[in-house]
Amino acid sequence: MPLPRWALALADDNGRSGSTDAALASVISLSHLDERALVAEAQTGSRTAFEELVRRYDRDVLRLALNLMKRPEDARDVYQEAFLKVYRNLHRFRFECSFYTWLYRIVTNVCLDHLRRRQARPEDQAPELNAGLHEEGITDFFERQREYRPTQDPERTLFGKEIKARIATAMERLSPRERIVFEMKHYQGLKLRAIGDVLGTTEETVKNSLFRATRKLRHELGGLR
């Protein structure tokens, strides 16, 4: 789908003074496009439209990758690999689902590949960075200081760190798919149906995965209350 006439007209009006202004106007106009129009524009080869799509969703993508992979370098790899796959395969997107669902399907598949690879060869992987478990490993002064901001309740902070450490340990017991389902449900806030769409499976299957994940976590986190 090409850009609406108003968007193109806006770009033309603002871009009269030069190519830079035109590009800026194009970005401004693209930011007002809905997802479908933006994807359609990106499918025509517009790099600007694609970058606008990336900006709309990459924060959530990186967050999902960080929560799942627990390592910044792995999350960065997932981010790169996922968006490059989107870029290469965008012309195949047929609007049969939302772009968000399609994007997350790619991201979760990349995450699953990485997690399964990590499970298959744990000796090749660096240890996960869990603040509670590896606090002594935090060398950055500012990273360390932010945990002790005076506005925070020290008791709550200590409790949160203990919970986080226990959760991190408990999450290690989950399979990659259970981990993704739990992450998408509890931290991304997706409904089970949407998770099923992302993972390309049924809602019932997702329910089973979430049930097993929750039972495992409850077992691991018993006595935390």
Binding site: K70, P72, I163
Partner: protein, 361 residues
């Protein structure tokens, strides 16, 4: 409350409590669970535990919050992605065209093998490719059937040696087919009719330059040329042979070959010269025979101009014809009286008798 809802047991409710806590049950299920937990302390405790776990998970700091609280990682990811997209979007680098770069690199690493390969390649090109290309060039374009006749150059004529002359068959047109074996720079067999210009040129050269060739070859050439004696060059060669050839048989054959052209002034003069001056009586008798033949009724029509354009018109007027005949008669009368050979004298007398009645008429 329906009968179904009343019958919902703890076993049915327990699996739903986890989904109840995370708001993934339908309204109907929610009502059933609410109704059940109000009357079931165990299930209420399980629901509280599930809700508590939910709260704990929600309250727990997430890895993403700690690992990229400042957004530096996100900015770094965006920058790296932009670079990757630039690489994908950039046109492929066009390297300078380096023909056979792989071959040159390979040859640089193996100098001995490369030298042998170059030698073999040169030999292959020289012995196979070039002849093949020449053949290919000959076959290009429209097919042309060209039979290249052997062109005998002047140098070849000057240096040639005639090995033999044969007459394979007689032609219907009266002009014989001739095969001439030549040894010039290379052995060469020349086949053709005497009417062919190249063939005639070779035979004429042999007759005109008799000193270089065998008498038999000269005789064969004269035999072949007698049918084309009306050609100017052939006639001149025959006249030369009749006057200058060392061999009397050749001179006789030359005179015989001039029979068809005997009415020509040059030929007649050559005949008279042979009659009066040739040392060989046989040649003189042959000259008498040709002269008498040329004066016989019906003979002159053989010299019609249309037979050979190059032949000078022999159209003697009455006076010129009478003058020519008078010269022949005087020559015969002298030969009848003074020729040392008795046979020549007798033959001259006989010729005068043959001519005599014509003189009377």
């Amino acid at each position: 409350m329906s009968v179904f809802e009343k019958s919902l047991s703890c076993k049915d409710v327990a699996p739903l409590l986890i989904f109840y806590a995370c708001d993934e049950v339908s309204d109907k299920e929610r009502k059933q669970i609410d109704a059940h937990v109000t009357n079931c302390a165990d299930c209420a405790a399980q629901l509280a535990e599930a809700s508590g776990l939910q709260e704990i998970m929600a309250a727990a700091p997430q890895s993403a919050d700690e690992l990229d609280s400042s957004g530096i990682l996100l900015a770094q990811c965006r920058s790296e992605l932009a670079e990757s997209l630039d690489d994908l979007s950039a046109p492929p680098i066009e390297e300078h065209w380096r023909p056979f770069g792989w071959l040159r690199r390979s040859m640089a690493l193996r100098p001995a093998w490369s030298g042998a390969l170059l030698v073999a390649f040169g030999a292959l090109v020289g012995t196979q490719i070039l002849p093949w290309m020449q053949n290919g060039n000959n076959n290009n374009g429209q097919a042309m059937n060209v039979t290249v006749k052997p062109r005998i150059t002047d140098d070849q004529l000057a240096n040639m040696v005639v090995g033999g002359i044969t007459f394979p068959s007689s032609s219907d047109s009266g002009s014989p087919d001739v095969q001439v074996q030549l040894s010039a720079e290379q052995p060469l067999t020349l086949n053709g009719n005497v009417q062919d210009s190249d063939m005639r040129r070779v035979l004429t050269y042999v007759v005109a330059n008799g000193a270089r060739f065998d008498a038999g070859v000269r005789l064969d050439c004269l035999e072949a040329l007698k049918t084309v004696s009306r050609d100017l060059q052939v006639r001149q060669a025959l006249i030369t042979a009749a006057r200058k050839d060392q061999n009397p048989a050749v001179r006789m054959k030359a005179l015989e070959s001039l029979r068809d052209s005997a009415a020509d002034d040059d030929v007649r003069q050559a005949l008279l010269d042979a009659l009066e001056h040739d040392v060989n009586p046989g040649v003189r008798v042959e000259a008498v025979n040709v002269l008498v033949g040329s004066l016989q009724p019906g003979e002159p029509e053989g010299l019609t101009p249309e037979v050979n354009d190059s032949t000078p018109s022999v159209n003697p007027g009455r006076a010129a014809e009478d003058q020519s005949i008078e010269r022949v008669v005087r020559a015969l009368e002298q030969m009848q009286r003074r020729d040392p050979s008795r046979y020549v004298r007798l033959r001259s007398a006989a010729a005068l008798r043959q001519i005599g009645p014509r003189e009377v008429q």
